[in-house]
Symmetry: C2
Subunit: 201 residues, 2 copies
């Protein structure tokens, strides 16, 4: 990859993530979720700590949302933690399928799936990105999500599908103006704390 | 906090993290770990997605390592994912105990605890940090850890205590030269994949 990295949606994006089902049956939950998701438009590799997917932005978000959603629909307490990345200067051209079109392969299945998410956006090498982040936070509120500033992150609460839409839009908009963008997201579904949290509010 | 942020170990560091025990008994594992750890030198708050600790660098690493280690010693498959941060321009002076001395309160208990860790270091606003990272990777190898470059992260394998030492040293060294440093770490213990992974090597 040249040093003069282009910006835009034709670039290689990726996500390194883990899904943690808090149940004795965690292996089956993970393997079933991976089996139910169409991952044919991304390069995918799983090791003992995490899974890495690489491809176009749309497919990286499509696949990560689908894997989380399939795990969450089991009803178990499931946590997803991932780092989305684009434009890393040390990145290579390999391990990716970029010839695919943008049509997503997985249909959102997490209907009425409440989730909570801590996310943080890091446009590296830039010091004027707060406006972009604030625009995305405003868009998240319009979508009906609860948005709260916390130390080191922003918390989103609401429909899982709306949370992933917010993450994808925030990442896409930011990388249009910055070569190297990193976004972390920790997402939790079916937590025993959620009901309590909602009652408190 | 003034815009002219000072560098060094007197600054407020923090970590937002989650511990995910993959067992039906996850609530007890988490609560027991939190109870066994001395957290009196950090500010600590837990919500439905994550826990945030803030204080001096030494205590932030002491407490996060101790919580992970206590959870891992149950023998369950446990995953830790966290973001360490210092010098965020939007940070405040609050929610922290900085008057404490640097003596750590928790004794390493994870003896012979194999773990694997994906970590990534982001010195924001800097483009000449690779030397610092390479120094820390060399130090990790000297400590006996297996070190492997992977997409978006570096993988460390070996003793959990050596992994946390590497993380703390990498973070400490980098923030001495950069105002704002973020480091992500995903650490896994007692994974059923580990044995297979070791046999394969």
């Amino acid at each position: 990859m040249s040093n003069n990295v282009c910006k835009g949606t034709s670039r290689i994006a990726g996500c390194r993530f883990s899904v943690h089902p808090m149940t004795d049956d965690f292996v089956n939950v993970i393997l079933s979720a991976l089996k139910e998701v169409d991952t044919s438009k991304v390069w995918l590799e799983t090791d003992d700590v995490s899974t890495c997917v690489r491809g176009k932005i749309a497919h990286v978000f499509d696949v990560t949302e689908a894997i989380f959603s399939h795990a969450a629909k089991t009803g178990h307490h499931v946590a997803f933690s991932g780092t989305y990345s684009i434009g890393c200067p040390g990145d290579t051209d390999g391990d990716v399928y970029m010839a695919e079109n943008n049509r997503k392969l997985n249909t959102p299945i997490a209907i009425n799936q409440y989730a909570a998410c801590d996310f943080a956006l890091y446009p590296l090498g830039s010091d004027s990105y707060m406006d972009k982040i604030m625009e995305q936070i405003e868009a998240a509120k319009q979508r009906g999500l609860t948005v709260e500033g916390i130390h080191y992150a922003t918390k989103l609460k609401g429909e899982a599908d709306d949370i992933f839409t917010t993450l994808e839009n925030a990442f896409t908009a930011t990388q249009e103006h910055n070569d190297h963008v990193v976004m972390t997201a920790s997402i939790s579904a079916n937590s025993p704390s959620h009901q309590k949290g909602e009652d408190d509010e």
